[in-house]
Symmetry: none
Subunit: 208 residues, 4 copies
DNA sequence: CATGAATGAGAGTTCATTCAT
DNA sequence: GATGAATGAACTCTCATTCAT
């Protein structure tokens, strides 16, 4: 037996809930909406999930799991840890790859991205923390990178905390404005966006 | 200005609702919470507002009104329109003033800022549009500025739409991370933040 | 203002719930039954009580409050504590008064008595303990009395714990069989019942 | 007796249901609890029993069947019917044997005893009647015995109905307090209890 | 203007029962 | 016989809103 019917149904409910949450928001989306759309009974949903919150949580967890799989290790840092001394062009390429992967993941799972960006903060207890943790972790790596760069004289002196926050903001806002709002219609558009973003970010921090 | 008792009560309800929405979120905050806190009857609220949504809408409107009062006209553009030719330092100062005013307004009305940033998108129909409009308007001015700068050779060639979005992102993310999360505890901290932000933004776009 | 309308409604709901619980049992009785009977909306009930369990709890509390008011202090014990040495006839009278008061209270609030006797044990957490406590307290006083009597040579030697339990059983079973089942139709029947019960109980324990 | 697998499974379900009902109560115990514990599917239960109530009913029926097997015929009455004239000591022994058998049966099947004592009254229609009938039957025999004894001058004049109820109460309460609450831990404790109970009961009714 | 008791549609959730496989 | 996914009626509880006083 290769596939499991029950797993399929579970995923079916998740998929349905995902686009409902993305469309209406967690609060407004109702269990009965799912049931109507899938033409199943209310009780069926509760065979697969303890409650509404549990559906949401499962979605978020899946998302971050996928995200962590999709994103390469913070590449610049890794290079330094391996004792390499990448030059500026190499760094720029690494960051572009990374940003591209991030945009790509966001684009491919727009619905969930929408949910997380727009609702994650208020929604349920626990989610906010998970989200915060994810972004904080990424930001701290950036802070470390900025400090190292400044120490090496490659980057200008700056308030690394603030600038890391600002850099993160460039990406998240672009995701919001372009990807989640539907202005991007093909994956091909993402590479140039990543390049442009990284160019902007790097210019803002390099020495001279 | 004549003393109007009824206006006072209306504002009293708005103030109360504001911090409740900020604390619990629009959905979770209940009309009865307001009543308890102000020690008034449920019905009284409905003498001043049609419904819950109306309270929210009024808050948002007040906010943008105040914001527009607090913010200087997009200064660089205005200067150009007056036929002036500000140099880079002057532009930097203008932008810093502007950003500072923005941060200040956000800091002074943190509760509402929190509501808008965290809930505005999903909450009620109409709000999202208003919010979008506000940010879009600011962004379009930035786009225009970037294009002009590039045409004059002061700024590097770029995807102005994307970069405008990114620039807006730097500010909004910093507001989120620093002001709304309570890491800023005095207005004095805002000026250096504005300076740092503008420095980052400008470096990202100037020619050379 | 002498009476409070809201207090009346609260009591009205309690009274209604009382006879419904007595008739159908706690689980089977539904909030909507109350609403139908009182011709009020479902929500109204929840203006006065947090939830179904809270209605039940309130009833039980009222009951024990009334019970403690209605019952004279355990009289024999009190007499001894005052240094008196009541003779057997006096003791028998005291016990009869006490038992009579107990039967009377049970008779007058049969519905609640029914609920407590028949459901108290299983129903909600907390109730069982309250009930147990009440009966245990009474029983412990009996145990003390039996031990004292035996020490004084008035009562025969016995397993006081067991006999106290048995004595309590005589009363509770009679309440079950006669009062709660509706075989008693007038308060006048209770005095002879109390006399008969006490006679039986005393004969079972006196020396000789 | 031929080995019947299906009968075994049925009994297995009954045994499981029994301790679940005793632990959680009829309402709170769920069919799925049984399935989990026995590691069988939900549907399987319905191959052996029409519905949940049917499981309960079957348990109760088994119980009374066993009880009737375990209890000797009401012995005093039988003796009289055989024309014998047992003296007080003989009667006391007979009653003690009988009570002992009753306690023993209750002790050996505590779970079911618990269910019956604590839930029987409210639970399902039909059960209450069966229970009532059982106790009423025993009580009527006691009433007859008391009347006969009084007529013969062996017992004092009394309200036989009431006293029979009280006598039954002594036993049932002791079962409740000692056996079902787990204060009895060995069958050996039951004989003295029976003796003490009968001693108390008899003293309450004999002439003089 | 203010009150607050009353409303009632509608939400999430439960669980005994069914039935195609 | 056994399975377990699916059912759906029924329940408790919520809360913005109304309206007679």
């Amino acid at each position: 037996m290769v596939y499991k019917k029950s797993e399929q149904r579970k995923q079916q409910i998740l998929d349905c809930a995902k686009h409902l949450f993305a469309q209406k928001g967690y609060q407004a989306a109702q269990i009965s909406d799912i049931c109507e759309e899938l033409k199943i009974a209310r009780g069926t949903v509760y065979q697969y999930f303890e409650n509404k919150e549990n559906i949401f949580t499962t979605l978020i967890e899946q998302y971050f799991e996928n995200m962590n799989k999709a994103l390469p290790d913070t590449p610049v840092q890794s290079a330094f840890e391996r004792g390499e001394m990448p030059d500026l062009t190499q760094i720029q390429n690494m960051l572009t790859d990374y940003t591209h992967a991030f945009l790509l993941h966001m684009y491919r799972d727009r619905d969930l991205g929408r949910i997380i960006f727009l609702e994650g903060f208020t929604a349920l207890p626990g989610i906010k923390e998970k989200l915060f943790e994810f972004f904080e972790d990424r930001k701290q790596r950036t802070v470390a990178g900025l400090r190292l760069g400044a120490a090496l004289g490659v980057l200008r002196p700056m308030n690394a905390d603030l600038i890391a926050s600002a850099m993160m903001g460039t990406t998240t806002r672009v995701i919001l404005d372009f990807i989640l709002e539907g202005r991007v219609t093909s994956e091909d558009e993402l590479r140039p966006m990543a390049e442009e973003l990284v160019a902007f970010q790097l210019r803002g921090v390099i020495a001279r």
